[in-house]
Amino acid sequence: MKRAVLCSWFAIGLFLLALPLPAQQAPATSSPASASAASPQTSKEVSDRLAQLDQRVTAAQAAGDNAWMLTSAALVLMMTGPGLALFYGGLVRRKNTLAIMMQSFAMMGLISVLWALVGYSLAFGGDGPIIGNFSHAFLRGVGMEPNLDYAGTIPHLTFMIYQMMFAVITPALITGASAERMKFSGTVLFMTLWFFVVYAPLAHMVWGKGGFLNAAGGRFPCLDFAGGTVVHISSGVSALVCALYMGKRIGFPKQPMPPHSLVLSFIGACLLWVGWFGFNAGSALAANGLAASAFVATHLGAAAAAIGWSVAEWFKNGKASALGAISGAVAGLVAITPAAGFVRPMPAMVIGLAAGVLCYFMVTRVKALFGYDDALDAFGVHGAGGTIGALLTGVFAQQIVNPIFGPNNPVGGRDGHWAQVGNQLVGVLVAWGFALVGTIVILKITDLVTGFRANEEQEMEGLDISQHGEEAYYLES
């Protein structure tokens, strides 16, 4: 009641502010004396003004939402370059610095163009269960009017460019596993195919209208707020396949291959953390309370995970390293991604903490146990973190945060709807399966056409010189 009164006062205030001139004239026509004898013409005038007011309120909300979503799109792009490029760039040996950075940057060019040509349409056009259609190919019909299927308050163009940034970073994450030995031509072909075969369908299944994993009305409603399955499981699992398919780097694991500059990685990780606010809070697709909730969950998830990894490492090695802390933060950001818009702050910390410890275990123990050379731990962080995040989303999602299944319907285990964990599991398994099979097929094709792995001589010389003809650090100059 009190809220309603406040709201109406606020609306009146807005009205007066928005229409200064007519408002000043208003007392003349609708003074108390003449109010009782209001003619039909005056009441029409009032209803016209109300309609106008309504329009203005909508426009004000649209402006706020659009400002936040364009900002978020820019933040997500910043995660790829320079965020991920620096994070990965610092972790490789000096001779491969530019090559790994270029693999991220190339996605900013390549995937952006593919997205505009047909990718957006395949992910968000039509309403098929598996994949979209060509209705928005070449961005046909993507203009300043909102797309009511996805985001009713922002221009369709804003929604399209925001989703583009997700498509850009996802393949770039894979390059962490194949780092220091993947040739550039192979990277370009592989990523092009991967984008069409794995990313676009998966994005449609989980987020697209009619998608069979879509939380709103899909056959198996899978909660994935910002890309736990679509971005992190898909890229992480594909990364593992790449690492296994390519084999180890020459000299691994006997030869020491320490990161050449943790300073670069440190800056990159901090940029990723900041960019992730656009990634997760932006996934509310509006500048609203849900965005604030996702922002807080994201931050606390990252913080708790940094602590989780550091403590685990402190116990194990007697020291908490900078690399451990930043790796933990990234693992937490990954795990909180599917959950961000569904969980309250305390569960967000639990998810982060769990991811920090689990991912530490994955990159130290599990990797050593199986002996695969996931060079920069794309699988250990994104595959493992994405999986645990997706499952815990089913546990901790609450209707009070996001009533996605309807105003009074329970969402996750915390609401008593434990079946949601099963739906999450279906989503996880589909993402795993799709990434596994798709990546194997694509790798075979890539190997036949351009080859995937650099030859021994190129690898020894370093990919900077052999693939790009330049050096990251030209010390003689």
């Binding site: 020291k319 130290t364 050593a368």
Partner: protein, 112 residues
């Protein structure tokens, strides 16, 4: 003429250099080097992978001295470079046949 090479801890370099200036040493050549004698290296851990770093950073000083200055210099270095722990480094002394100043072709001790 004698050549003196001293390999010392990087953390002692500034003190050694200042002390040598005080006893009148005007020229020296300094290199950042890596190596080890009896000192064991240390272990670094990156995401669970352990690396033993056994080549440690050191500073190498090289000086060619008139015979009469050698003892003073050795004493100065011993006094200022010593921390008492393994890894303090070593001094090597050898005889030098000839020294030539490139600018004016002076030879012998006057070229130093």
């Amino acid at each position: 003429m004698m050549k003196l090479e001293a390999i010392i801890q990087p953390s002692r370099f500034e003190s050694v250099k200042d002390a040598l200036h005080e006893v009148g040493i005007e020229g020296m050549t300094v290199t950042e080097v890596r190596g080890h004698g009896r000192q064991k290296g240390h272990t670094e851990v990156y995401r669970g992978r352990e690396y033993t770093v056994d080549l440690l950073p050191k500073i190498k000083l090289e000086m060619v001295l008139p015979d009469k200055l050698v003892n003073t210099v050795v004493d100065t270095i011993l006094k200022t470079a010593k921390t008492g722990k393994i890894g303090d480094g070593k001094i090597f002394i050898s005889r030098v046949e000839e020294a030539i100043r490139i600018r004016n072709e002076e030879r012998g001790e006057s070229a130093l």
